[in-house]
């Protein structure tokens, strides 16, 4: 009897799993009158990277949200960074609902919101995202504007390609589209024109009438709560014969050169600089870094590492790689891991929800270099900022080994009489404190608090020095906080 019970249970679980899987992967058309598309108004308050103790004035960002069931809405991540309030309006309803951010992926550029009111999703119809991508094909953009009902505009879906999204680090698949219509690219739902099966979410549309769509399989992967793998290296095309000959390549139809390896990543310890990548998952890689995909045609090799399409996803599998190293073929296996954030020396792209850190010492502001700090200097930022910081940002974003630290720099001196000797200092890289190399703000804070010497001795990369008595640091900080209305000595 017990055994029978167990059997029943087992069969039930199997049936449930099969059924759940069937439901999960089934493509459900989205009707023109389905209540799935929502208007989302997000008030955001961005941090100030130059004066990191304060925020900027609040702004409002409008975007489209798509109801995905369980009281959840999917929207572009760009809309919710540094949000203070989220308001959601359902179609044909004047009532406004509030929501909170549940999850966000900065590389995919999507976020999931959850209604605060458990009854808010009543009468909303969930959109499901499956693996189906119809390429090339005609699609419809479903958007909801102001108080008007749902509008549909036609687009042409051209091809699948790979690239890092506007603010991400990982190259991910996107569908290139064209349209004669004017579109916003703020999270509108794309469905196939005849079957009305969801194809993706529009996240970018340019003035030249082309745009980009996040394909359904990537969206589903994100909704399922999974992270995105990263191959952990960058490559350079290997087209010219002199370089090919130098690396001992005889055939001129294969291979790209490994140009950069992220410490702590999937490729770390597996690939080496100047390896020639010949094959990935048994696909031959051409000298420009493309392979022939049976369905999508020529695709960038990154697809073989980063895609989440069910049929050819490498997620959770060991990837077979063949390289040419020191003029000999070598077979390797690579375990896919997410991007190691610790490998990023100078954050770039968007802020990935990171507020700028600062540490004030003797009324002097120290920060860690990020691209956001530099771009905050206006359109001409490349001409305005310190040339050394600009150079570092261009060439040393990624650590070259795990021991390399962040670039800690003195961003400004808050003028007080006690630090007047150093008022002219700004945008200088901090090299050492009491003779110890500085690698992060946290370490700098520890060095100061644990310093056993009566003086604290700062040395900048150009030799400029600043010296304070230990007790001066606290008293000047107190004076700076009062004088310049700064709440805290640090924000981490």
């Amino acid at each position: 009897m017990k055994f029978l019970n167990l059997m029943y249970r087992f069969v039930f679980v199997l049936f449930f799993l099969f059924f759940a899987g069937f439901i999960h992967s089934k493509s459900i058309p989205v009707g023109m009158t389905d209540a799935s598309i929502l208007q989302v108004k997000v008030t955001v308050q961005y941090p100030h990277f130059i004066q990191p103790w304060r925020n900027k004035n609040p702004e409002v960002r409008q975007s489209t949200g798509i109801y995905i069931g369980e009281n959840k809405i999917i929207i572009p991540a760009q809309a919710v960074y540094f949000y203070t309030s989220i308001e959601i309006k359902k179609p044909d309803s004047l009532k406004v609902f509030t929501a909170e951010l549940e999850r966000l992926d900065p590389d995919l550029g999507l976020a999931i919101l959850k209604f605060n009111d458990p009854n808010a999703s009543k009468d909303l119809k969930a959109v499901t995202f499956s693996n189906e991508v119809f390429l090339p094909g005609t699609g419809l953009v479903m958007e909801s504007k102001d108080q008007r009902s749902l509008e549909e505009k036609k687009i042409r879906m051209i091809r699948l390609d790979m690239e890092a999204y506007a603010s991400g680090y990982v190259e991910l698949p996107f569908i290139e589209i064209q349209s004669e219509e004017k579109l916003d690219g703020v999270g509108e739902l794309i469905v196939d024109v005849s079957s009305r099966i969801p194809q993706g979410i529009l996240y970018q549309f340019k003035e030249n009438n082309t745009g980009r769509v996040i394909p359904t399989f990537s969206i589903r992967h994100f909704i399922d709560g999974k992270n995105f793998p990263f191959k952990g290296f960058r490559f350079k095309p290997l087209i010219d014969s002199a370089t090919r000959n130098h690396y001992g390549l005889r055939k001129d139809d294969l291979g790209v050169l490994v140009a950069e390896i992220y410490p702590g990543s999937s490729a770390d310890g597996v690939l080496q600089l100047e390896d020639v990548l010949l094959e990935v998952s048994n696909f031959k890689i051409d000298p420009k870094g493309y392979f022939d995909h049976p369905k999508f045609g020529k695709l960038n090799v990154s697809y073989l590492f980063h895609n989440t399409n069910d049929t050819d996803s490498s997620f959770g599998k060991k990837i077979k790689i063949k390289v040419f190293r020191n003029k000999k073929p070598v077979s390797l296996e690579l375990d896919l891991k997410p991007i190691p954030e610790s490998a990023i020396r100078i954050p770039y792209g968007n802020s990935r929800f990171q507020t700028p850190k600062y540490l004030m010492l003797a009324g002097i502001i120290f920060q860690e270099l990020s691209e956001q700090y530099l771009t905050e200097h206006g359109n001409q930022w490349r001409n305005r900022v310190s040339k050394e910081l600009l150079y570092l940002n261009d060439f040393y974003r990624i650590k070259r080994n795990s021991k390399e630290g962040k670039v800690v720099f003195l961003s400004q001196v808050l003028p007080l009489s006690g630090n007047k000797a150093y008022h002219t200092a700004h945008q200088m890289i901090l090299k050492t404190v009491n003779g110890v190399q500085v690698q992060s703000l946290e370490q700098l804070q520890t060095l100061i608090s644990e310093s056993g010497t009566p003086y604290v001795h700062f040395v900048m990369s150009d030799g400029f020095e600043m010296i304070f008595k230990k007790e001066e640091i606290q008293s000047l900080n107190a004076e700076a906080k009062q004088s310049f209305q700064i709440q805290r000595d640090s924000n981490f």
Partner: protein, 515 residues
């Protein structure tokens, strides 16, 4: 007092002379006027110098000021095998001895042909440059035809003008053929950057008079003596001009006494003020001692090997230095001005505190080779190297400016950073060589990745300069040449024979000559 005694038109006296005498007697008897006369003589007695000052008439001054017409042609640093178009310009100058004309270096830079004329002369006389000093924007010229000097006059050098005193700027501005005089007041005396070289900083006198194109090289006069050479105008304010004071002119004239212009010496240190008591106590500096801390000693500068970071400089040549780096005696002149007045080989003496001990250090002044590429250059042929259609050149100001004018500003942060920090990054021996452009050919179609990068190694050898790079390419026997650049990990690979072969085709296609 103004330099030029103005002539006034005098109306002939038509009054009867007897009547006039009687009238004058009456005047003398008038007590008020009598007192005025007495006061006039007292003033004359108390201030006898002004009455004795040499004052030249405008006619005499006109005889010494010349107009200079220049036809110039420069090399294009971005395409160093090409010359720019021929342009004509005018400037001014003046005779400082019987047959020597002083003007600005920028008036005669890149000149292919020059001629000059004095006021009221009808003929233009051919000129030649005897000495040119781009670092202080001065040049000495000569006319070979003695007829030019007939009935000429020359001007004497005066001293530094007082603040708020008037000066007259004489020259031929805006291309006019008639001499022009404009009067201004000395509004500031300071060390400032000379626009011609863009890097050198010397004493300048600011005047509130317009200095227009064509004025350059003309004299600024006070009491009939030269107090400066008009040379640049402010881009920020209106009617603000600058003159090169006589101290700089005299430095130039003394420098060329041996027949060669050597140029300015550099101390080669970076300093910071010493306002902070904690900073001073940390280094054990007594509170009574004023001075500045050395933060960096540049390689191959005068101070290299003699001064050290952390040294506290208290006096230069016995003249005390303040906490802000100015000489205590004036508190308006940077102590570096003392070095500016020296010549190569002259001794520089410092009183300093090192490791809490007072010591004296002395060393000879010398030029810094690294400064040459920082300076805008004129009349030079830019050396370059082409290999596989890739153009390499030494990183220098002219190239960088031409490069940015060509819109090559994206991705060039390495080049820009290494140029602007060259004095601190340089080891004093080597120069940066940059791959700044390519002449397209199938052989180099994939090398854009390496554009604007600075060469570090070739086949494992550290590159010292452009000549060294040429040698490395020429002496290479390997089939492939591996070039590594600062900042990027992947080398550029070139096939030696294929590159050399392609260069022959490229030279022909793009009309390259020389090199």
């Amino acid at each position: 007092m103004p330099a030029i005694s103005e002539k006034k038109a005098v109306a002939p006296n038509m009054v009867d002379s007897n009547k006039l005498m009687q009238k004058q007697k009456k005047i003398l008897l008038s007590p008020f006027l009598f007192a005025s006369t007495i006061l006039f003589f007292i003033r004359l007695f108390l201030n006898p110098l002004s009455a004795e000052e040499p004052r030249q008439s405008i006619d005499e001054i006109k005889k010494s000021v010349v107009q200079i017409r220049v036809f110039s042609q420069a090399k294009d640093p971005f395409s160093p095998w090409m010359s720019s178009g021929i342009s004509a310009s005018t400037g001014s100058g003046f005779l400082i001895s019987k047959n020597r004309i002083l003007t600005n270096a920028h008036v005669v830079s890149n000149a292919k042909f020059m001629e000059t004329q004095r006021n009221n002369q009808t003929e233009w006389y051919e000129l030649k440059v005897l000495f040119i000093a781009h670092d202080c924007d001065l040049a000495l010229l000569e006319v070979s035809d003695p007829k030019f000097y007939e009935d000429s006059n020359y001007l004497e050098l005066g001293s530094l003008p007082e603040l708020a005193s008037p000066v007259d700027i004489i020259g031929y501005p805006i291309g006019g053929s008639k001499i022009s005089v404009s009067r201004g007041i000395v509004s500031r005396i300071e060390q400032s950057t000379y626009a011609h070289s863009q890097i050198d900083s010397h004493l300048v006198v600011q005047v509130d008079a317009a200095i227009n194109p064509g004025n350059s090289g003309g004299p600024a006069l006070q009491d009939g003596k030269v107090v400066g050479v008009a040379f640049q105008a402010s881009t920020k304010g209106e009617n603000i001009g600058y003159i090169i004071p006589t101290a700089v002119i005299q430095h130039f004239l003394k420098d060329i006494e041996d027949g060669i212009y050597h140029g300015y010496v550099e101390l080669g240190i970076q300093t910071q003020p010493s306002y902070s008591e904690s900073h001073r106590k940390y280094y054990g500096i007594p509170s009574v001692e004023e001075g500045v801390f050395i933060t960096k000693v540049l390689k191959a500068g005068s101070a290299d090997g003699y001064l050290k970071p952390g040294d506290y400089l208290t006096a230069i040549d016995g003249r005390k230095i303040g906490r802000n780096g100015n000489l205590l005696e004036t508190n308006s002149i940077d102590f570096l001005e003392v070095v500016d007045n020296k010549f190569a080989g002259d001794e520089i003496r410092f009183d300093l505190i090192r490791d809490k001990k007072k010591i004296n250090v002395k060393f000879p002044a010398k030029k810094m080779i690294q400064m040459e590429n920082q300076r805008a250059r004129y009349g030079v042929n830019y050396d370059y190297l082409m290999f596989g259609g890739h153009i390499f050149q030494t990183v220098n100001r002219d190239l960088l400016e031409a490069w940015s004018k060509n819109g090559q500003t994206q991705g060039g942060s390495l080049l820009v950073y290494r140029f602007y920090d060259a004095t601190t990054l340089s080891d004093g021996q080597s120069e940066d060589v940059v791959l700044y452009r390519k002449l397209p050919h199938p052989i180099n179609s994939n090398s854009d990745f390496y554009l604007n990068m600075v060469v570090e190694f070739v086949n494992g050898t550290k590159v010292k300069n452009l000549t060294h790079l040429k040698e490395l390419f020429q002496s290479a026997t390997e089939k492939t040449i591996r070039i590594q650049f600062y900042g990027i990990q992947l080398p550029m690979i070139l096939d030696r024979e294929e590159s050399e072969k392609a260069d022959l085709e490229i030279k022909k296609s793009y009309h390259l000559t020389g090199n």
